[in-house]
Symmetry: C3
């Protein structure tokens, strides 16, 4: 039975859905990162395939279009030997007025094994997880402003890969924190993994003071925010959100909060720079920084495949 408090875990505390990094025990996070490490080598082999999900049917349910994220899950599932079915939801039965739960019930009846869900509404993957058949596992691939847990986990993988240990780190997250599901998933994972200082940096409209409730330090000054940081995570500036009267223009934002070599120089000498992509060169990040020696943006992408393989193989092996 699903626990009401943590629908991601079964009665034995094992991961059966990945909906959020919030509430995941440190051991589960560690298990995912450790497993991802083993898949990283699979991805470097001549034959990049293991039979762990052979004969399983994985459905990509992208209610919100995202070719990039969909592709990473499709690759991960295929390298686990799963059958992958991409549903073009925008053109399907939901458009004919069928409810989300009826769509899910139908796909479950086709003996689906896993749903990868991207949805514009926060909480949609929870709704699906709480209503689908017990043999079906759900992975949240981004829901509204709420969570993007595989992005959070791949960020943790990158940090552990380059920094080894979380317990002494200062991590700075810069940008539109309040609207960012990536920031939220990063913050929950970082605090669970024991990072002593997580800073969120941006203008007051995008980084309100009440974020402190998440256990982070709120900064409105970029120099202060990145000073002495071990890790800087730059968020993508969503241009379409920058239109409100109280928000800065993209150019204004870039000038104040964009990561330039000068601002990067305020961080630790061995600081790494991360970004969930796709990057806006010259807006939130200078090209010289994105392509520079501190940048681990492309390794993040590589780790992302391994982390998604890890998540899928772990949940597929655990029973509700």
């Amino acid at each position: 039975m699903l626990s009401r408090r943590n629908p991601q875990l079964n009665a034995h505390g094992e991961l059966i859905h990945l909906l959020s990094t919030e509430g995941l025990p440190r051991e589960v996070l560690a298990q995912i990162l450790d497993t991802a490490g083993t898949f990283l080598s699979v991805n470097e082999r001549e034959v990049k395939k293991v039979p762990l999900l052979r004969g399983k049917s994985v459905f990509n349910l992208f209610f919100e279009n995202s070719t990039r994220t969909r592709t990473t899950f499709e690759i991960a599932a295929k390298r686990l030997s799963a059958d992958v079915i991409n549903l073009d939801i925008a053109r399907s039965s939901t458009a004919k007025g069928e409810s989300l739960l009826d769509t899910i019930a139908n796909l479950s009846a086709m003996h689906a094994d896993m749903f990868i869900v991207r949805h514009g509404e926060s909480g949609a993957p929870y709704l699906i997880a709480s209503h689908c058949a017990p043999h079906v596992h759900v992975v949240n691939a981004g829901d509204g402003r709420h969570a993007h847990p595989t992005q959070g986990l791949l960020d943790m993988y990158a940090i552990r890969h380059y920094k080894g240990d979380f317990s002494q780190l200062t991590v700075a997250i810069v940008g539109d924190i309040v609207h960012s599901r990536v920031a939220r998933s990063d913050i929950h994972a970082l605090t669970t993994l024991g990072v002593p200082e997580v800073r969120v940096i941006g203008p007051r409209t995008l980084v309100p003071g009440d974020l402190r409730a998440m256990g982070v330090r709120v900064c409105h000054d970029m120099a202060e925010g990145v000073s002495g940081a071990d890790v800087i995570i730059m968020l993508r500036l969503q241009n379409e959100r920058m239109s409100g009267a109280m928000l800065p223009s993209a150019a204004e934002f870039a000038k104040t909060f964009g990561l330039t070599p000068e601002k990067l120089a305020l961080a630790k000498a061995d600081a790494i720079v991360m970004h969930p992509g796709p990057i806006n060169r010259g807006v939130e990040i200078d090209s010289s920084v994105a392509d520079g020696r501190a940048s681990v943006i492309l390794p993040q992408v590589t780790f992302g495949i391994a982390v998604r393989m890890a998540v899928m193989s772990i949940i597929a092996g655990n029973e509700a």
Copy 2:
């Protein structure tokens, strides 16, 4: 050589295309249902895959968009280990003015093994079957108002599963019969399988008297139609067809012909309720009925995968 009278069968009476349930001998129907039964267990295994179509190329040719039906065929083909290629026909060469038969000739030249065809024009799959190379098999996934044979067959599977035997049954089909390829495929299969009473129920505009030529009883009264029925098949109300002056509105239709618990109570105590989906809750069917104990709507979906696997594996094994 294809027989002019029944292009679905080869000279030995074996199934080489599935174009319609009309004209299929009872033994062929029984073979499909029996084979589907064996695949039902495959779909419940850990590894839901058999190698029957390994190395075969199955093309989904959907000239009319239907994500749901396309998905069921894609899953069925992949569980048979086929390579599946989805063609986005609306954006392809046909849009460049290439004729249907030239498109088919080209795909045949790529050594296609099977075409799954959905088309807005009645008869298009016949045209394709009669012109494609002898090694290619065609499955009709719905053509105009004409036929939707795999839906008809999965309905037969459901009826046999729950009722055991066709020879004593009363089956009621309710809705827009005249425009429904599902109804047509069901009626042909039901009569071939020996169902003694098939009733079609709806307003005169949607259920004209000349349907009697198909061997069915025509009812314009819902209470009369469902009384004593063993099986009630509710059709989806196509709202877009409900605009004509002589047709009832959706609300009017729901009131008169929608399946409520009260109307269901007129059927046999152990009657089953079926629907091809997606359902319009509160229009042709009440939510309490759709989700109630008489409903076998979700099992229909499960049977649909097994039936499509059966059809594909049978026709792939028979030579023209």
Copy 3:
């Protein structure tokens, strides 16, 4: 390291990308055609699959939509047992303002093995090949007016299949030569393979005299052009290009340069007629010719799968 002069070959002269038929040594062309011959038999087997690209990730990057060409590559890759990922580029990150090279860097970081690139801009596949990771191979599936090398190669396969030897042939290419990447790829391959006479035929606006620099004979008279030809390659008339004041209308073009039985009679008695498809019946080619005994248009399609399998398997086996 990539040679600046021929980025398609490694230091040992082996093919690592297929970008153009221009500059490919005769031995490399022969290797591709010989290898394609072996795959032709694979495509006629019961199980049309070989494990040469098992565990490899092939990405279809179609910046310009072409269902037909995309399908041929998808089939070829799947018959080599590769995992194929189709990217709907028009809706992806490039639409969000990400640069082509950032998209490529990201896909490379996912451990892509091969990019199949269709792009509206001439040279885009070169740009990609010169910037992607060393383990990634690029196949040009058509770039602007520049090249369509797999079409050129399958044309060569067809000619060799029917004519045996290139050294005595007269090949006539008819149509809009100046805008045709197919014509360009054919001409380079034909001259490299030693065809003594290549004629290009069409109105002055579409077949300007400076094409002579490519080593071809320029004809503005259809009768003269096809007289005594062993091979006639008809190009598709791009109606959308026929709107300029100086260009003939489609009807006018058809009358003067369309291939009719009468004009075909001027060629050698055993001449073959080719076309890259999709054909415009009654415009550049009469139906009686397209479907007649001289036509090898459908065999071209069959050869195209084998040639693409050959190209992919050859480049995947060679290291940068």
